[in-house]
């Protein structure tokens, strides 16, 4: 094929492409019907006719509602399984300890050995890890509070269960 003919073919293809762009657009260009391209012999009448037919008559199929919802459910399960590592604390944001200090560390004052360097160690906040840390801290605090009658009763019961801890 000569260069001229190849260029001619590419030009025809380009004209067809522009025609299809307008044909498939939401608001067709005014030249579609009887305009410059519409009456242009360079775009064959047969190609125009076929383009219009395919553009208007080929339907877009939709799967059944049942399939759609079943697949949506499966995707939700897959998405939930993808979130598990985050929930387990595999990914967390590094937050400076001082931001949490007023609320979190005040009840534990005196228990820390690192009082002079409160900002030296970041705290990993990552879902279950943070929640677990708070729970353990809370339990420890409840355990050590001497003013609570309930805590004293729990400690007494605990000491009785330990070997050699009483009758």
């Amino acid at each position: 094929m000569s260069l001229t003919r190849r260029d001619g073919g590419e030009i025809e293809a380009l004209i067809t492409d522009r025609y299809l762009d307008s044909l498939l657009a939401i608001q067709p260009a005014p030249y579609l019907e009887g305009g410059p391209l519409g009456s242009d012999d360079s775009l064959g009448a047969a190609v125009r006719a076929v383009s219009r037919r395919l553009a208007t008559d080929l339907p877009r199929f939709h799967p059944s509602f049942r399939f759609e919802e079943r697949l949506a459910l499966r995707l939700a399960e897959v998405a939930a399984s993808m979130r598990l590592p985050v929930a387990a604390g595999a990914e967390g944001a590094m937050v400076p300890m001082r931001e949490l200090r007023p609320a979190l560390l005040e009840p534990l004052r005196g228990a820390s050995d690192d009082e002079n360097h409160p900002d030296a160690r970041p705290l990993l906040i990552g879902g279950a890890v943070a929640a677990s840390a708070l729970s353990i801290a809370g339990a420890w605090l409840a355990w050590r509070r001497r003013t609570s009658p309930m805590a004293r009763a729990i400690r007494a019961a605990h000491s009785m269960r330990q070997p050699g801890g009483g009758a």
Binding site: T16, L20, V78
Partner: protein, 216 residues
């Protein structure tokens, strides 16, 4: 955080980076990357298109459902690997996410074809021509459309895929080029030749009494 796609526009002397247009799917994609459950919005947006593509290619509802399911599951599990690569030739409003999605769909459809070949249930001669209009006769009643699709169904692989992506899924030439891994010029020629082929085919039908080739 939404990323901006940058490229160098035009010739080397024009080395100032331009900011690409926003991918219409970018907010949804970024949200789904942060929270996988948010992928549902993308799923609802593209379900019919992916399913249609698979159905036109495979000609069987069950096979199309299998391919569609595999496509979306694969897209969700691999979404973290997706990188938006907008190019100037993508044109305004082009969506690189959907190019990526249809690349996955194309692979899944090819896999489904291979599986079907290993366990054929019909003579090969009957499976070569895909004719979903037979199944969807209640939705599409026009004989002309039927004739048009039969002609498209007789096209060789890439021409047929390009026609479905262009006319049914309404992808741009640049997007189809991305899906098929061809240049835009090659896709333009592919579609132009496919249209001429279909026109010739329907012209034969016209001589046999079908009005498919006439102006609508």
């Amino acid at each position: 955080m939404a990323r901006r796609a940058l490229w160098r526009s035009g010739a080397a002397k024009d080395a100032v980076p331009r900011i690409a247009h926003l991918d219409r799917d970018r907010p949804l994609v970024e949200a789904a990357k942060r929270e996988p459950a948010r992928f549902e919005a993308l799923y609802r947006r593209y379900l019919a298109r992916v399913y249609s593509y698979a159905y036109y290619e495979l000609g069987d509802h069950h096979a199309a459902e299998d391919a569609t399911e595999a496509t979306f599951v694969s897209a969700l599990t691999n979404l973290h690997r997706f990188e938006e690569r907008a190019r100037p030739s993508d044109g305004e409003g082009a969506s690189t996410f959907r190019v990526w999605l249809f690349q996955i769909a194309r692979n899944e459809v090819a896999g489904e074809r291979r599986r079907a070949r290993r366990r054929p249930v019909e003579p090969i001669g009957e499976t070569v021509v895909v004719d979903p209009l037979d199944v969807e006769a209640t939705a599409v009643r026009r004989d002309e459309a039927r004739a048009a699709w039969q002609a498209v169904g007789r096209l060789p692989g890439e021409r047929r895929q390009a026609m479905v992506l262009r006319f049914v899924d309404e992808l741009s030439t640049a997007e189809i080029a991305g899906v098929l891994g061809r240049s835009e010029g090659a896709v333009r020629v592919l579609i132009h030749r496919a249209l001429k082929s279909v026109a010739r085919d329907m012209g034969v039908s016209k001589r046999s009494g079908d009005k498919a080739g006439s102006e609508s």
